[in-house]
Protein backbone atom coordinates (compact mmCIF):
# COMPACT_ATOMS: atom_id res chain seq x y z
CA UNK A 1 0.00 0.00 0.00
CA UNK A 2 1.15 3.53 -0.78
CA UNK A 3 2.50 5.64 2.09
CA UNK A 4 2.45 9.28 3.10
CA UNK A 5 5.71 11.17 3.69
CA UNK A 6 5.29 10.82 7.47
CA UNK A 7 4.62 7.09 7.21
CA UNK A 8 7.76 6.57 5.11
CA UNK A 9 9.97 8.24 7.74
CA UNK A 10 8.37 6.13 10.49
CA UNK A 11 8.75 2.92 8.47
CA UNK A 12 12.43 3.58 7.80
CA UNK A 13 13.10 4.14 11.51
CA UNK A 14 11.16 1.04 12.52
CA UNK A 15 13.17 -1.14 10.11
CA UNK A 16 10.08 -1.88 8.03
CA UNK A 17 9.37 -1.67 4.30
CA UNK A 18 5.81 -0.63 4.97
CA UNK A 19 3.59 0.67 7.73
CA UNK A 20 -0.14 1.32 7.67
CA UNK A 21 -2.22 3.86 9.54
CA UNK A 22 -3.21 2.60 12.98
CA UNK A 23 -0.26 0.18 13.29
CA UNK A 24 1.69 0.40 16.55
CA UNK A 25 5.44 0.44 16.02
CA UNK A 26 8.64 0.87 18.00
CA UNK A 27 11.06 3.17 16.17
CA UNK A 28 14.67 4.38 16.52
CA UNK A 29 15.13 8.06 17.32
CA UNK A 30 17.61 10.53 15.86
CA UNK A 31 17.11 13.08 18.63
CA UNK A 32 15.39 13.32 22.04
CA UNK A 33 14.59 16.79 23.37
CA UNK A 34 13.57 18.15 26.75
CA UNK A 35 13.35 21.52 28.51
CA UNK A 36 13.61 22.81 32.08
CA UNK A 37 9.94 22.00 32.83
CA UNK A 38 9.67 18.52 31.32
CA UNK A 39 13.21 17.16 31.77
CA UNK A 40 13.20 17.05 35.61
CA UNK A 41 10.17 14.71 35.49
CA UNK A 42 11.91 12.59 32.83
CA UNK A 43 15.16 12.45 34.82
CA UNK A 44 13.24 11.36 37.92
CA UNK A 45 11.59 8.54 35.93
CA UNK A 46 14.92 7.62 34.30
CA UNK A 47 16.59 7.28 37.70
CA UNK A 48 13.60 5.62 39.40
CA UNK A 49 13.65 2.90 36.74
CA UNK A 50 17.31 2.27 37.56
CA UNK A 51 18.57 3.39 34.16
CA UNK A 52 22.25 4.17 34.21
CA UNK A 53 23.46 5.20 30.78
CA UNK A 54 21.87 7.32 28.10
CA UNK A 55 21.61 5.67 24.67
CA UNK A 56 23.75 8.32 22.96
CA UNK A 57 25.04 11.49 24.58
CA UNK A 58 25.14 13.26 21.19
CA UNK A 59 21.48 12.57 20.40
CA UNK A 60 19.89 14.23 23.42
CA UNK A 61 19.20 17.96 23.56
CA UNK A 62 18.39 19.61 26.90
CA UNK A 63 17.38 23.26 26.50
CA UNK A 64 16.74 25.43 29.55
CA UNK A 65 14.27 27.87 28.03
CA UNK A 66 10.92 27.99 29.82
CA UNK A 67 11.53 29.65 33.20
CA UNK A 68 15.06 30.87 32.47
CA UNK A 69 16.98 32.92 33.42
CA UNK A 70 15.37 31.30 36.45
CA UNK A 71 12.37 33.24 37.67
CA UNK A 72 12.29 31.91 41.25
CA UNK A 73 13.90 29.45 43.65
CA UNK A 74 11.71 26.51 42.66
CA UNK A 75 12.46 27.01 38.97
CA UNK A 76 16.15 27.27 39.78
CA UNK A 77 15.97 23.93 41.62
CA UNK A 78 14.31 22.28 38.60
CA UNK A 79 16.97 23.61 36.22
CA UNK A 80 19.69 22.44 38.59
CA UNK A 81 18.36 18.86 38.37
CA UNK A 82 18.83 19.01 34.59
CA UNK A 83 22.21 20.77 34.78
CA UNK A 84 23.55 18.12 37.16
CA UNK A 85 22.18 15.28 34.99
CA UNK A 86 23.67 16.81 31.82
CA UNK A 87 27.03 17.12 33.59
CA UNK A 88 26.99 13.55 34.92
CA UNK A 89 25.96 12.05 31.58
CA UNK A 90 28.21 14.40 29.58
CA UNK A 91 25.30 15.47 27.34
CA UNK A 92 26.77 17.22 24.28
CA UNK A 93 23.76 19.44 23.52
CA UNK A 94 22.98 20.94 26.90
CA UNK A 95 22.06 24.62 26.51
CA UNK A 96 21.86 26.89 29.54
CA UNK A 97 21.64 30.67 29.97
CA UNK A 98 24.11 32.40 27.65
CA UNK A 99 23.88 29.69 24.99
CA UNK A 100 20.29 28.65 25.13
CA UNK A 101 17.38 29.80 23.01
CA UNK A 102 13.75 28.85 22.64
CA UNK A 103 14.19 25.16 21.85
CA UNK A 104 12.36 24.93 18.51
CA UNK A 105 14.22 27.92 17.10
CA UNK A 106 17.54 26.76 18.58
CA UNK A 107 17.69 23.14 17.36
CA UNK A 108 17.34 23.90 13.63
CA UNK A 109 19.75 26.85 13.98
CA UNK A 110 22.33 24.52 15.59
CA UNK A 111 21.80 22.02 12.77
CA UNK A 112 20.61 19.28 15.13
CA UNK A 113 17.64 18.30 12.92
CA UNK A 114 17.70 17.57 9.19
CA UNK A 115 15.33 16.10 6.61
CA UNK A 116 14.41 12.47 7.21
CA UNK A 117 15.10 12.56 10.96
CA UNK A 118 12.75 11.10 13.57
CA UNK A 119 12.61 13.39 16.60
CA UNK A 120 10.62 13.35 19.83
CA UNK A 121 10.58 16.17 22.32
CA UNK A 122 8.94 16.59 25.71
CA UNK A 123 7.34 19.77 24.46
CA UNK A 124 4.21 19.87 22.34
CA UNK A 125 5.69 22.25 19.76
CA UNK A 126 8.37 19.74 18.77
CA UNK A 127 6.28 19.35 15.59
CA UNK A 128 8.10 22.48 14.31
CA UNK A 129 10.88 20.49 12.57
CA UNK A 130 8.46 19.12 9.98
CA UNK A 131 9.41 22.29 8.13
CA UNK A 132 12.75 20.59 7.38
CA UNK A 133 11.13 17.37 6.13
CA UNK A 134 11.66 15.55 9.44
CA UNK A 135 9.03 13.59 11.40
CA UNK A 136 8.95 15.28 14.77
CA UNK A 137 6.35 15.19 17.48
CA UNK A 138 5.71 16.22 21.05
CA UNK A 139 5.55 13.62 23.82
CA UNK A 140 5.57 13.56 27.61
CA UNK A 141 8.35 13.17 30.12
CA UNK A 142 8.08 9.37 30.41
CA UNK A 143 8.50 9.02 26.65
CA UNK A 144 11.49 11.32 26.94
CA UNK A 145 12.96 9.15 29.72
CA UNK A 146 12.56 6.02 27.59
CA UNK A 147 13.98 7.89 24.60
CA UNK A 148 17.06 8.90 26.60
CA UNK A 149 17.57 5.36 27.91
CA UNK A 150 16.83 3.28 24.82
CA UNK A 151 16.78 5.69 21.84
CA UNK A 152 13.33 4.40 20.99
CA UNK A 153 9.69 5.48 21.14
CA UNK A 154 6.37 3.82 20.37
CA UNK A 155 4.11 5.35 17.74
CA UNK A 156 0.66 4.71 16.41
CA UNK A 157 1.20 5.27 12.69
CA UNK A 158 -0.93 8.28 11.75
CA UNK A 159 -3.18 8.75 8.75
CA UNK A 160 -2.89 12.17 7.12
CA UNK A 161 -4.70 15.22 5.87
CA UNK A 162 -3.26 16.81 2.74
CA UNK A 163 -3.13 20.58 2.37
CA UNK A 164 -2.60 21.43 -1.27
CA UNK A 165 -1.14 24.94 -1.24
CA UNK A 166 -1.32 27.14 -4.33
CA UNK A 167 -0.57 30.80 -5.06
CA UNK A 168 1.59 33.34 -3.32
CA UNK A 169 0.80 35.10 -0.02
CA UNK A 170 0.01 38.81 -0.22
CA UNK A 171 2.20 41.49 1.34
CA UNK A 172 2.04 41.33 5.17
CA UNK A 173 0.65 37.79 5.09
CA UNK A 174 3.03 35.21 6.56
CA UNK A 175 3.13 31.64 7.87
CA UNK A 176 1.21 32.66 11.02
CA UNK A 177 -1.79 33.94 9.06
CA UNK A 178 -1.76 30.77 6.96
CA UNK A 179 -1.75 28.36 9.92
CA UNK A 180 -4.33 30.43 11.85
CA UNK A 181 -6.52 30.38 8.74
CA UNK A 182 -6.17 26.58 8.51
CA UNK A 183 -6.87 25.99 12.23
CA UNK A 184 -9.88 28.30 11.97
CA UNK A 185 -11.12 26.12 9.12
CA UNK A 186 -10.55 22.64 10.60
CA UNK A 187 -10.78 23.36 14.35
CA UNK A 188 -8.56 22.57 17.34
CA UNK A 189 -9.16 18.84 16.92
CA UNK A 190 -9.48 18.92 13.13
CA UNK A 191 -6.30 16.88 12.67
CA UNK A 192 -6.45 14.86 15.91
CA UNK A 193 -3.87 11.99 15.87
CA UNK A 194 -3.11 12.76 12.20
CA UNK A 195 -0.29 14.15 10.08
CA UNK A 196 -0.81 17.47 8.36
CA UNK A 197 1.08 17.13 5.07
CA UNK A 198 1.57 20.40 3.20
CA UNK A 199 2.24 20.17 -0.51
CA UNK A 200 1.57 21.88 -3.84
CA UNK A 201 2.97 24.66 -6.01
CA UNK A 202 2.48 27.25 -3.28
CA UNK A 203 5.16 25.66 -1.07
CA UNK A 204 7.93 27.33 -3.06
CA UNK A 205 6.44 30.73 -2.11
CA UNK A 206 6.91 30.04 1.60
CA UNK A 207 10.19 30.83 3.33
CA UNK A 208 11.69 28.26 5.70
CA UNK A 209 10.59 30.50 8.59
CA UNK A 210 6.99 30.49 7.28
CA UNK A 211 7.18 26.70 7.24
CA UNK A 212 8.57 26.55 10.80
CA UNK A 213 5.64 28.69 11.99
CA UNK A 214 3.08 26.56 10.13
CA UNK A 215 4.44 23.22 11.40
CA UNK A 216 4.88 24.68 14.91
CA UNK A 217 1.13 25.16 15.25
CA UNK A 218 0.08 21.78 13.78
CA UNK A 219 -0.42 20.67 17.40
CA UNK A 220 -3.03 23.43 17.81
CA UNK A 221 -5.16 21.48 15.33
CA UNK A 222 -4.51 18.32 17.39
CA UNK A 223 -2.07 16.92 14.82
CA UNK A 224 0.68 14.42 15.57
CA UNK A 225 2.98 16.22 13.15
CA UNK A 226 3.07 18.76 10.36
CA UNK A 227 5.43 18.22 7.46
CA UNK A 228 6.63 19.95 4.28
CA UNK A 229 8.25 18.31 1.25
CA UNK A 230 11.98 18.90 0.90
CA UNK A 231 12.91 21.42 -1.82
CA UNK A 232 15.84 23.70 -2.65
CA UNK A 233 14.83 26.12 0.13
CA UNK A 234 15.00 23.30 2.69
CA UNK A 235 18.30 21.93 1.41
CA UNK A 236 19.88 25.37 1.37
CA UNK A 237 18.83 25.97 5.01
CA UNK A 238 20.20 22.58 6.08
CA UNK A 239 23.47 23.10 4.19
CA UNK A 240 23.93 26.46 5.93
CA UNK A 241 23.24 25.11 9.42
CA UNK A 242 24.14 21.44 9.68
CA UNK A 243 26.89 18.97 8.94
CA UNK A 244 24.38 16.10 9.05
CA UNK A 245 23.31 14.58 5.76
CA UNK A 246 19.62 15.07 4.94
CA UNK A 247 17.57 12.09 3.76
CA UNK A 248 14.73 13.02 1.46
CA UNK A 249 11.42 11.15 1.69
CA UNK A 250 8.48 11.84 -0.61
CA UNK A 251 4.87 10.80 -0.27
CA UNK A 252 3.79 8.17 -2.78
CA UNK A 253 1.74 9.68 -5.60
CA UNK A 254 -1.16 7.37 -4.75
CA UNK A 255 -0.88 7.78 -0.97
CA UNK A 256 -4.27 7.83 0.77
CA UNK A 257 -5.38 10.90 2.70
CA UNK A 258 -8.37 11.16 5.03
CA UNK A 259 -9.12 14.59 3.60
CA UNK A 260 -7.64 17.01 1.07
CA UNK A 261 -7.91 20.78 1.45
CA UNK A 262 -7.05 23.21 -1.34
CA UNK A 263 -5.64 26.41 0.11
CA UNK A 264 -5.05 29.38 -2.18
CA UNK A 265 -2.37 31.36 -0.34
CA UNK A 266 -3.13 34.52 -2.32
CA UNK A 267 -6.61 34.66 -0.78
CA UNK A 268 -5.45 34.57 2.85
CA UNK A 269 -5.79 37.81 4.82
CA UNK A 270 -4.05 38.87 8.04
CA UNK A 271 -5.75 36.73 10.67
CA UNK A 272 -6.15 36.99 14.45
CA UNK A 273 -7.25 34.23 16.87
CA UNK A 274 -9.54 35.54 19.61
CA UNK A 275 -9.71 34.07 23.12
CA UNK A 276 -9.79 31.29 24.17
CA UNK A 277 -8.99 28.91 21.31
CA UNK A 278 -6.51 29.16 18.40
CA UNK A 279 -9.41 28.17 16.11
CA UNK A 280 -11.45 31.24 17.07
CA UNK A 281 -10.07 33.20 14.12
CA UNK A 282 -11.22 36.43 12.50
CA UNK A 283 -10.01 38.60 9.63
CA UNK A 284 -9.99 42.39 9.94
CA UNK A 285 -13.45 42.89 8.44
CA UNK A 286 -14.80 41.27 11.63
CA UNK A 287 -12.37 42.52 14.28
CA UNK A 288 -13.57 46.01 15.28
CA UNK A 289 -12.05 48.16 17.97
CA UNK A 290 -10.06 46.06 20.44
CA UNK A 291 -7.74 47.92 22.80
CA UNK A 292 -4.65 46.11 24.08
CA UNK A 293 -2.47 46.45 27.19
CA UNK A 294 0.50 44.41 25.98
CA UNK A 295 2.15 43.14 22.82
CA UNK A 296 4.55 40.16 22.80
CA UNK A 297 6.67 39.40 19.75
CA UNK A 298 8.66 36.21 20.17
CA UNK A 299 8.25 32.45 21.00
CA UNK A 300 8.99 29.22 19.12
CA UNK A 301 6.24 30.24 16.70
CA UNK A 302 7.44 33.73 15.72
CA UNK A 303 10.72 34.59 17.43
CA UNK A 304 13.03 34.20 14.42
CA UNK A 305 15.12 36.90 12.78
CA UNK A 306 12.74 37.40 9.84
CA UNK A 307 9.88 37.96 12.31
CA UNK A 308 11.77 40.85 13.89
CA UNK A 309 12.76 42.23 10.47
CA UNK A 310 9.05 42.55 9.65
CA UNK A 311 8.27 44.13 13.03
CA UNK A 312 11.22 46.55 12.74
CA UNK A 313 10.13 47.63 9.28
CA UNK A 314 6.78 48.70 10.75
CA UNK A 315 8.12 50.19 13.99
CA UNK A 316 11.06 52.12 12.47
CA UNK A 317 10.81 55.77 13.43
CA UNK A 318 7.51 55.21 15.27
CA UNK A 319 6.54 55.14 18.94
CA UNK A 320 4.46 52.50 20.65
CA UNK A 321 1.08 53.73 21.88
CA UNK A 322 1.00 55.23 25.36
CA UNK A 323 -0.03 52.67 27.94
CA UNK A 324 0.94 49.64 25.82
CA UNK A 325 3.82 47.45 27.00
CA UNK A 326 5.67 45.93 24.04
CA UNK A 327 8.00 43.02 24.75
CA UNK A 328 10.39 41.75 22.09
CA UNK A 329 11.95 38.35 22.73
CA UNK A 330 14.46 37.06 20.17
CA UNK A 331 14.32 33.28 20.30
CA UNK A 332 18.06 32.58 20.31
CA UNK A 333 21.33 34.24 21.25
CA UNK A 334 22.29 34.41 17.56
CA UNK A 335 19.05 36.24 16.72
CA UNK A 336 19.60 38.54 19.73
CA UNK A 337 23.08 39.39 18.49
CA UNK A 338 22.09 39.79 14.82
CA UNK A 339 19.31 42.17 15.93
CA UNK A 340 21.82 44.29 17.83
CA UNK A 341 24.45 44.28 15.08
CA UNK A 342 21.97 45.10 12.31
CA UNK A 343 20.23 47.93 14.13
CA UNK A 344 16.91 46.21 14.87
CA UNK A 345 17.38 46.48 18.62
CA UNK A 346 17.87 50.24 18.29
CA UNK A 347 14.66 50.56 16.28
CA UNK A 348 12.73 48.66 18.97
CA UNK A 349 14.24 50.51 21.93
CA UNK A 350 13.76 53.89 20.21
CA UNK A 351 10.11 52.97 19.65
CA UNK A 352 9.67 52.23 23.35
CA UNK A 353 9.80 48.41 23.35
CA UNK A 354 11.51 46.22 25.95
CA UNK A 355 13.99 43.76 24.44
CA UNK A 356 14.58 40.55 26.42
CA UNK A 357 17.12 37.75 26.48
CA UNK A 358 15.73 34.53 24.90
CA UNK A 359 13.02 32.77 26.97
CA UNK A 360 9.62 31.13 26.48
CA UNK A 361 8.61 33.42 29.39
CA UNK A 362 5.21 35.03 28.84
CA UNK A 363 4.00 32.61 26.14
CA UNK A 364 3.06 30.09 28.83
CA UNK A 365 2.48 32.59 31.62
CA UNK A 366 5.86 31.81 33.13
CA UNK A 367 7.47 35.24 33.60
CA UNK A 368 8.61 38.36 31.67
CA UNK A 369 5.17 39.77 30.86
CA UNK A 370 2.38 38.27 32.97
CA UNK A 371 -1.11 39.76 32.66
CA UNK A 372 -3.27 41.11 35.49
CA UNK A 373 -7.01 40.44 35.82
CA UNK A 374 -8.91 41.91 32.88
CA UNK A 375 -5.80 42.72 30.83
CA UNK A 376 -5.45 41.91 27.17
CA UNK A 377 -2.32 40.90 25.24
CA UNK A 378 -1.78 40.56 21.53
CA UNK A 379 0.96 37.99 20.96
CA UNK A 380 2.80 36.20 18.18
CA UNK A 381 2.73 33.07 20.37
CA UNK A 382 0.73 29.89 19.84
CA UNK A 383 -1.93 29.47 22.53
CA UNK A 384 -4.69 31.70 23.89
CA UNK A 385 -6.26 29.32 26.40
CA UNK A 386 -7.80 30.59 29.66
CA UNK A 387 -5.02 31.96 31.88
CA UNK A 388 -2.29 31.14 29.38
CA UNK A 389 -0.39 34.42 29.92
CA UNK A 390 -1.38 35.16 33.49
CA UNK A 391 -4.60 35.82 35.37
CA UNK A 392 -7.46 33.44 34.48
CA UNK A 393 -9.54 36.51 33.58
CA UNK A 394 -6.92 37.98 31.20
CA UNK A 395 -7.09 37.54 27.43
CA UNK A 396 -4.61 36.56 24.70
CA UNK A 397 -5.09 37.28 20.99
CA UNK A 398 -2.78 35.49 18.53
CA UNK A 399 -1.38 37.14 15.41
CA UNK A 400 1.60 37.56 13.08
CA UNK A 401 4.59 39.82 13.83
CA UNK A 402 3.25 42.34 11.26
CA UNK A 403 -0.14 42.65 13.02
CA UNK A 404 1.59 42.79 16.41
CA UNK A 405 3.89 45.64 15.33
CA UNK A 406 1.11 47.63 13.66
CA UNK A 407 -1.05 47.23 16.79
CA UNK A 408 1.80 48.29 19.08
CA UNK A 409 1.72 51.71 17.41
CA UNK A 410 -2.06 52.22 17.58
CA UNK A 411 -2.78 50.49 20.89
CA UNK A 412 -5.58 48.44 19.36
CA UNK A 413 -5.61 45.38 17.10
CA UNK A 414 -4.64 46.83 13.74
CA UNK A 415 -3.98 45.48 10.27
CA UNK A 416 -0.56 46.27 8.77
CA UNK A 417 -2.23 46.58 5.36
CA UNK A 418 -2.23 50.21 4.23
CA UNK A 419 0.28 51.37 6.84
Amino acid sequence: MAMTMSQKILASHAGKDKVVAGELIMADLDLVLGNDVTSPVAIKEFEKAGCDCVFNKDKIALVMDHFTPNKDIKAAEQTKIVRDFAGKKDITHYYDVGEMGVEHALLPEKGLVVAGDLVIGADSHTCTYGALGAFSTGVGSTDMAVGMAYGKAWFKVPSAIKFNLTGKPKKWVSGKDIILHIIGKIGVDGALYKSMEFTGDGVKNLTIDDRFTICNMAIEAGAKNGIFPVDDITLEYIANHSTKKPVVFEADKDAKYDEVYDIDLSKIEPTVAFPHLPSNTRTFDKIGDIKIDQVVIGSCTNGRYSDFEIAAKILKGKKVAKGVRVIIIPATQKIFLDMAVNGLTKIFVDAGCAVSTPTCGPCLGGHMGILAKGERSLATTNRNFVGRMGHPESEVYLCSPAVAAASAITGKITSPVGL
Partner: protein, 158 residues
Amino acid sequence: MKITGKVIKYGDNVDTDVIIPARYLNTSDPKELACHCMEDLDKTFVKRVQKGDIMVGGYNFGCGSSREHAPIAIKESGIACVIAKSFARIFYRNSINTGLAIVEYDGDINEGDMVEVNFDTGVIKNLTTGVEGTFPPFPEFLKNIIEKGGLLPSMKSN
Protein backbone atom coordinates in the same frame (compact mmCIF):
# COMPACT_ATOMS: atom_id res chain seq x y z
CA MET B 1 -10.06 -4.09 36.63
CA LYS B 2 -13.27 -2.38 37.64
CA ILE B 3 -13.64 1.23 38.81
CA THR B 4 -16.81 2.66 40.33
CA GLY B 5 -16.97 6.36 41.16
CA LYS B 6 -18.88 9.59 41.27
CA VAL B 7 -18.62 11.87 38.25
CA ILE B 8 -17.09 15.34 38.10
CA LYS B 9 -17.91 16.67 34.64
CA TYR B 10 -16.35 19.25 32.32
CA GLY B 11 -16.88 20.27 28.67
CA ASP B 12 -14.94 20.07 25.40
CA ASN B 13 -11.29 21.10 24.85
CA VAL B 14 -10.18 20.92 28.49
CA ASP B 15 -6.56 22.00 27.96
CA THR B 16 -3.51 21.15 30.04
CA ASP B 17 -3.10 24.85 30.97
CA VAL B 18 -6.33 24.69 32.98
CA ILE B 19 -5.59 21.18 34.29
CA ILE B 20 -2.35 22.51 35.77
CA PRO B 21 -1.48 26.17 35.05
CA ALA B 22 2.12 26.79 33.96
CA ARG B 23 2.74 29.08 36.94
CA TYR B 24 2.86 25.91 39.06
CA LEU B 25 5.26 24.02 36.78
CA ASN B 26 8.24 25.25 38.76
CA THR B 27 7.78 22.05 40.74
CA SER B 28 7.40 18.42 39.72
CA ASP B 29 6.12 17.23 43.13
CA PRO B 30 2.82 15.37 42.49
CA LYS B 31 1.29 16.50 45.82
CA GLU B 32 1.98 20.18 45.12
CA LEU B 33 0.67 19.86 41.57
CA ALA B 34 -2.52 18.18 42.79
CA CYS B 35 -3.23 21.19 45.08
CA HIS B 36 -3.73 23.33 41.94
CA CYS B 37 -5.42 20.78 39.68
CA MET B 38 -8.18 22.33 37.48
CA GLU B 39 -7.71 25.64 39.29
CA ASP B 40 -8.30 27.98 36.33
CA LEU B 41 -11.43 26.12 35.22
CA ASP B 42 -12.97 25.07 38.53
CA LYS B 43 -11.69 26.44 41.82
CA THR B 44 -13.98 24.03 43.75
CA PHE B 45 -12.41 20.88 42.25
CA VAL B 46 -9.64 20.36 44.80
CA LYS B 47 -12.08 20.88 47.67
CA ARG B 48 -14.78 18.52 46.44
CA VAL B 49 -12.82 15.73 44.73
CA GLN B 50 -12.94 12.43 46.63
CA LYS B 51 -10.56 9.51 46.16
CA GLY B 52 -12.01 7.24 43.48
CA ASP B 53 -14.04 9.91 41.65
CA ILE B 54 -14.28 9.78 37.87
CA MET B 55 -13.53 12.84 35.71
CA VAL B 56 -15.63 13.18 32.55
CA GLY B 57 -14.77 15.45 29.62
CA GLY B 58 -16.06 16.12 26.12
CA TYR B 59 -14.04 16.17 22.90
CA ASN B 60 -10.26 16.79 22.73
CA PHE B 61 -9.61 16.35 26.45
CA GLY B 62 -6.06 17.31 27.46
CA CYS B 63 -5.22 19.42 24.43
CA GLY B 64 -2.29 21.82 24.43
CA SER B 65 1.02 21.47 26.22
CA SER B 66 2.79 18.11 26.55
CA ARG B 67 3.26 18.58 30.31
CA GLU B 68 3.05 15.18 31.99
CA HIS B 69 2.30 17.22 35.10
CA ALA B 70 -1.35 17.21 33.87
CA PRO B 71 -2.13 13.47 34.20
CA ILE B 72 0.13 13.37 37.29
CA ALA B 73 -1.95 16.14 38.96
CA ILE B 74 -5.25 14.47 38.06
CA LYS B 75 -4.09 11.07 39.32
CA GLU B 76 -2.64 12.48 42.53
CA SER B 77 -5.84 14.45 43.24
CA GLY B 78 -7.60 11.11 43.68
CA ILE B 79 -9.31 10.72 40.30
CA ALA B 80 -9.46 7.01 39.45
CA CYS B 81 -10.30 7.32 35.78
CA VAL B 82 -10.92 9.94 33.06
CA ILE B 83 -13.71 9.32 30.54
CA ALA B 84 -13.87 11.62 27.49
CA LYS B 85 -15.45 11.65 24.04
CA SER B 86 -11.94 12.01 22.62
CA PHE B 87 -8.46 12.72 23.97
CA ALA B 88 -5.70 14.94 22.61
CA ARG B 89 -2.92 12.61 21.54
CA ILE B 90 -0.06 13.64 23.86
CA PHE B 91 -2.36 13.51 26.90
CA TYR B 92 -3.52 10.06 25.76
CA ARG B 93 0.00 8.63 25.59
CA ASN B 94 1.09 10.40 28.77
CA SER B 95 -1.83 8.79 30.62
CA ILE B 96 -0.92 5.33 29.37
CA ASN B 97 2.77 5.87 30.10
CA THR B 98 2.09 7.05 33.66
CA GLY B 99 -0.73 4.67 34.53
CA LEU B 100 -3.75 7.03 34.65
CA ALA B 101 -6.80 5.03 33.55
CA ILE B 102 -8.55 6.63 30.55
CA VAL B 103 -11.56 5.62 28.46
CA GLU B 104 -12.89 6.98 25.17
CA TYR B 105 -16.69 6.89 25.41
CA ASP B 106 -19.28 9.24 23.95
CA GLY B 107 -22.40 8.20 25.93
CA ASP B 108 -24.30 10.63 28.15
CA ILE B 109 -22.94 11.02 31.64
CA ASN B 110 -24.01 13.79 34.05
CA GLU B 111 -22.32 15.56 36.92
CA GLY B 112 -22.76 13.53 40.10
CA ASP B 113 -23.74 10.25 38.38
CA MET B 114 -22.30 7.02 39.79
CA VAL B 115 -20.51 5.20 36.98
CA GLU B 116 -18.91 1.76 36.78
CA VAL B 117 -16.09 1.14 34.26
CA ASN B 118 -15.09 -2.48 33.61
CA PHE B 119 -11.76 -2.60 31.77
CA ASP B 120 -11.90 -6.38 31.30
CA THR B 121 -15.25 -6.42 29.51
CA GLY B 122 -15.16 -2.90 28.01
CA VAL B 123 -18.54 -2.05 29.53
CA ILE B 124 -19.52 1.24 31.14
CA LYS B 125 -22.60 1.26 33.38
CA ASN B 126 -24.19 4.50 34.51
CA LEU B 127 -25.61 3.29 37.82
CA THR B 128 -27.63 6.52 38.26
CA THR B 129 -29.43 6.55 34.90
CA GLY B 130 -29.22 2.82 34.15
CA VAL B 131 -27.68 3.48 30.72
CA GLU B 132 -25.04 0.97 29.60
CA GLY B 133 -22.43 1.30 26.84
CA THR B 134 -19.23 -0.20 25.57
CA PHE B 135 -15.78 1.09 24.75
CA PRO B 136 -13.06 -0.49 22.61
CA PRO B 137 -10.36 -2.32 24.60
CA PHE B 138 -6.73 -1.17 24.39
CA PRO B 139 -4.60 -2.95 21.78
CA GLU B 140 -2.28 -5.65 23.20
CA PHE B 141 0.76 -3.39 22.79
CA LEU B 142 -0.72 -0.74 25.09
CA LYS B 143 -2.28 -3.32 27.45
CA ASN B 144 1.23 -4.66 28.01
CA ILE B 145 2.47 -1.16 29.01
CA ILE B 146 -0.46 -0.69 31.40
CA GLU B 147 -0.09 -4.17 32.92
CA LYS B 148 3.65 -3.70 33.48
CA GLY B 149 2.88 -0.49 35.37
CA GLY B 150 4.01 2.04 32.78
CA LEU B 151 6.33 2.46 29.82
CA LEU B 152 9.68 2.29 31.62
CA PRO B 153 8.97 -0.98 33.47
CA SER B 154 7.58 -2.51 30.27
CA MET B 155 10.71 -1.51 28.31
CA LYS B 156 12.90 -2.94 31.05
CA SER B 157 11.06 -6.28 31.08
CA ASN B 158 11.49 -6.56 27.29
